[in-house]
Amino acid sequence: MSAATHKPAASTTHGLSPVRIVSIYPTLLGTYGDGGNVAALSHIAGLHGVPVDILTISPGMLIPDDADIYVMGGGEDTAQVAAANALRASGALNRAVDNGASVLAICAGYQLLGHEFPDADGNASPGLGLLDVFTDRLPKRAVGELAAAPIAAGIETLTEMLTGYENHGGATHLGAGVTPLALVASGVGNGDGTEGAITGRVIGTYLHGPCLVRNPRLAERLLGWAVGRDLDPIVEEAVEELRRERLGNAAGTPRV
């Protein structure tokens, strides 16, 4: 069933250097199948004829600050604090963002990009400050399907409904320095009707699923930034069927 409806990918126009993708601490931040995001970037880049170079970082390894895309997943409280501490000590992710890299961080990864997030005991733990957000606790854990409509102020080229699965206890509060990624159509998201946050090319979201598997347009946005041009969407029927099923009648809802 490799029945991808291939639009002819504009062959390999990216030249010689592959897009460098860094998977940050999947052993700490990969509880909910988020490894699928890196797999999706690789798969979708392949459809577009874009070569990729994937580097998986374990705690203790040096994080490069000159890669194109950094991906972080969700994780348990203890692992989240460990990851945040290691990233703060390294400083590499902050330097990479200054260098123009993009970041996609899911759930616990999203929270630790902010100013602070709750640890296992509910105490505030410091994050990286790459997103102007802070996270405390929701009154009730958010578990279930999450659908959200992207907003133009977030990522202008992203118009298709976002779909994923959320499983978190965090309420994330957005400051003036960020824009929500989307508005919640069903589910909880940040907890105030918005979902995710973005500033520049740094994206945080509560969408597991995995996120880029269910939302290939977002993967194409990240890859497009890396190659310096917008990629024409390549639609794979198996993915569209999954999206239709998950979004139900919400699919095709126009952008808010």
């Binding site: 069933m1 490799s2 991808a4 052993t27 700490l28 990969g30 509880t31 909910y32 199948g33 988020d34 490894g35 699928g36 797999a39 999706a40 798969h43 374990s58 705690p59 203790g60 348990e76 409280d77 203890t78 692992a79 604090v81 460990a82 578990v143 279930g144 699965y165 499983n167 597991h208 699923g209 995995p210 598997v213 794979e236 198996a238 993915v239 069927e241 999954l242 099923e245």
Partner: protein, 421 residues
């Protein structure tokens, strides 16, 4: 039996409720029966348990098989009360105690989240803790949180003898403070959910099955039971005595490992270990696991596959490519609502064959297989007479069918005429 009158009445009422439920075709009625009993007599579990609970078995994977192996081994001393199905929450445990052989020693499997309250009520002599990994994250606590609950449980119940898998750092963390621990080197095929120390969050150092934490000094405990595997298994007791497990009919390394842990429990219960092995060899399938059954136009071997750790074991026992396999992924309550764990299963290992993708999350599976480079055919009901199966599938004597819990239950239920999912 010294059960109170109240408990006796409550059990009778529970049986009635269960019978009604069966009559109405709503399943075996255990859960309903157990619920009614507990409502009428909240202390029924402790009352029915008395002092006869020999062992409780808990783990993320393998608890039903391990319980069956252990209960069969323990039957050398007479009848045993145990679950006949995998019903392992409070109601299922209660039902096994209320309806098993009167007064018989009990060997029971318990859901990992329910273990603390069941253990407190039933006061077993031994508790077997085999492994903890990710499963049904929408329902279960995250793994480290569950381990902390087990740890607190053992602090509050210091009399229980703990038989624990030292190779699983999360289990070791849960059991390490208990006064009586028998450590078994039972192996750990799936390490992804125990990469960091559950206490301090430091990445664990690993060397083979050995592990240690450079952050807080925690390390793999010294084991008194060992498990060796090379095509078949050998259990080695504390005295160096070797027990050949090559006669086990349950397949795979993980079942031999389960048998080793069961044997360690048998030793604590004072049972004859050679007899225990002989009896464990008689177990052929457990509540439908590994059983060969007819399903519509096909004959299938049923495999229960509900999380990445379980899958990593099952991929080893599937026949080699190009044999097609059926995979059924559901996301009903009992399966876990979120099948994103599919992305942690190394399905790439199924390349070279066609996977028949089914279940209410067949589309998630199809996309996962697409990314894995595995040929998939999405079929809503692969057991229908007119299902568009890959050529030659119907000619195979048996096809492996791996299914999540609710799909598995549906297939194993012989009274179910309709194979619709």
């Amino acid at each position: 039996m010294n059960t109170s009158l109240r408990t006796q009445i409550a059990v009778t009422a529970g049986r009635l409720a269960a019978a009604t439920s069966r009559t109405l075709g709503r399943g075996e009625g255990m859960v309903v029966g157990g619920k009614v009993t507990l409502r009428l007599a909240p202390l029924a579990l402790a009352d029915l348990a008395g002092t006869r609970v020999a062992a409780l078995v808990s783990a993320t994977n393998g608890k039903t098989s391990t319980t069956r192996l252990l209960a069969t081994a323990a039957s050398q001393a007479g009848p045993v009360a145990t679950q006949s199905t995998g019903a392992n929450m409070t109601e299922g445990v209660l039902w096994a105690l209320a309806n098993g052989p009167t007064g018989a020693p009990a060997i029971l499997e318990v859901d990992e989240a329910y273990l603390p309250r069941v253990l407190a009520a039933t006061k077993p002599k031994v508790v077997l803790l085999a492994n903890l990994s990710r499963d049904q994250l929408d329902r279960m606590s995250e793994v480290a949180m569950l381990a902390r609950k087990w740890r607190r449980m053992l602090e509050q119940n210091p009399d229980v003898v703990v038989v624990a898998n030292a190779d699983d750092p999360i289990v070791a963390y849960a059991a390490e403070k208990a006064p009586h621990v028998i450590w078994v080197a039972a192996g750990q095929a799936w390490t992804a959910d125990s990469s960091v120390c559950p206490e301090c969050g430091t990445l664990l150092g690993r060397d083979g099955t050995d592990w240690s934490c450079s952050g807080c000094g925690r390390a793999r405990p010294k084991t008194s039971w060992q498990f060796e595997w090379e095509k078949t298994g050998i259990a080695v007791g504390p005295d160096g005595q070797r027990y050949d497990l090559s006669g086990l009919q349950l397949p795979g390394r993980f079942n031999a490992s389960n048998a080793t842990m069961a044997l360690a429990v048998c030793a604590e219960l004072g049972l004859d270990l050679e007899k225990a092995v002989t009896l464990m060899n008689t177990v052929t399938s457990v509540s439908g696991r590994f059983a060969t059954v007819d399903a519509g136009s096909l004959r299938i071997r049923l495999l229960l596959a509900k999380n990445p750790a379980g899958w990593s074991e099952l991929l080893d026992i599937m026949p080699p490519a190009p044999a097609p396999v059926i995979i059924i992924i559901n996301s009903n309550d009992a399966d876990g609502r979120d099948p994103s764990w599919l992305w942690d299963v190394p399905f790439e290992r199924l390349r070279g064959r066609t996977v028949i993708a089914s279940g209410n999350r067949r589309r998630d599976l199809a996309v996962r297989l697409l990314h894995a480079g595995v040929d998939a055919r999405v079929i809503e009901d692969p057991f229908a007479a007119d299902a568009d199966l890959p050529a030659g599938t119907r000619d195979l004597p048996v096809v492996d069918c791996a299914a999540t819990y609710t799909a598995f239950q549906k297939l194993r239920d012989p009274s179910n005429e309709e194979m619709a999912l």
